[in-house]
């Protein structure tokens, strides 16, 4: 029986001299959302690894920027870089995330990034 062999340095080869996420530029296809779109965060199963904070799930926010193309954390964390997707910076009202948030600070907001798979039109 022989050991499994895989290219442990495939990601380093891809990114060397270019950088990450720059090495994924142009590989995610057409972006589904644009700046200003209202989006709801989808509550995908949060098993093994994710960087989509639970407290954002089901909440509605506004796309403020398309930030870069990259594999989602769920893929990259296991060495899978074949399916880069668009990442979006989304801003939420704090009141929409935390029901008990004081009305005194109704204008407070929170901005964070999501891969496209977590967004749906709201």
């Amino acid at each position: 029986m022989s050991k499994p062999h895989y290219d442990r340095e495939h990601h380093a080869k891809m990114a060397s001299g270019i950088g990450d996420p720059q090495c994924f530029k142009g590989k995610a296809g057409k972006a589904k959302f644009k700046e200003g779109d209202r989006v709801r965060i989808i509550d995908l199963p949060d098993l093994f690894y994710t960087r989509t904070m639970t407290y954002t799930r089901g909440a509605v926010g506004t796309v403020v920027r398309l930030v870069y193309e990259s594999p989602a954390a769920e893929d990259e964390a296991f060495g899978n870089e074949d399916s880069p997707e668009w990442f979006y910076s989304v801003v939420f009202k704090q009141k929409d995330l935390w029901p008990e948030y004081s009305d005194l600070y109704a204008n407070d907001s929170l901005e964070t990034e999501f891969p496209e798979r977590y967004l749906e039109s709201a």
């Binding site: 442990r8 994710t50 509605v60």
Partner: protein, 143 residues
């Protein structure tokens, strides 16, 4: 989806706040009917996703890195530079794969160091036997 998801998510955050590792309470291998969907989600959630969990305040302390912590950081960056892992693989291993008890119980750079050893074994750069023998040898040098 929105209102029921929000309700579920906020209840979930309350539940995981109760999941601090409890050394005084035995919960060994519960029967399947003792674990409902909400408890399943709470148990299997990724321990690094602590935003919104109810918790007690902790004291903020400024602390300079110790030499071993700086060495650990440099080691982990070299592993990335040589393509052994990406930052995302490292974060998965050191923040999630360690589990709730180690995530909350070990020092920050302790988890980095543990994970540097783990990736070398997982990706077969060394065997666990070699690692254990080396730790044993070093320990004996320092008794």
């Amino acid at each position: 989806m929105s209102s029921s998801t929000r309700e579920e998510v906020l209840q979930h955050l309350n539940m995981v706040g109760q999941l601090q590792p409890a050394l005084h309470k035995q919960t060994h291998a519960p029967a399947p009917d003792q674990i409902d969907h909400a408890l399943w989600r709470a148990y299997t959630r990724t321990p690094h996703d602590i935003g919104g969990e109810p918790d007690v305040p902790i004291v903020y302390e400024e602390k300079e890195e110790e030499q071993w912590e700086l060495n650990t950081f440099a080691t982990c960056e070299c592993l990335a530079w040589r393509g052994v892992w990406t930052a995302e693989e490292r974060r998965r291993k050191q923040n999630v794969d360690v589990g709730q008890t180690q995530y909350l119980g070990l020092p920050y750079y302790g988890r980095w160091l543990l994970t540097a050893a783990r990736i070398l074994v997982d990706k077969q750069y060394c065997t666990l036997t070699e690692l254990v023998n080396k730790i044993d040898e070093v320990k004996k040098r320092h008794v």
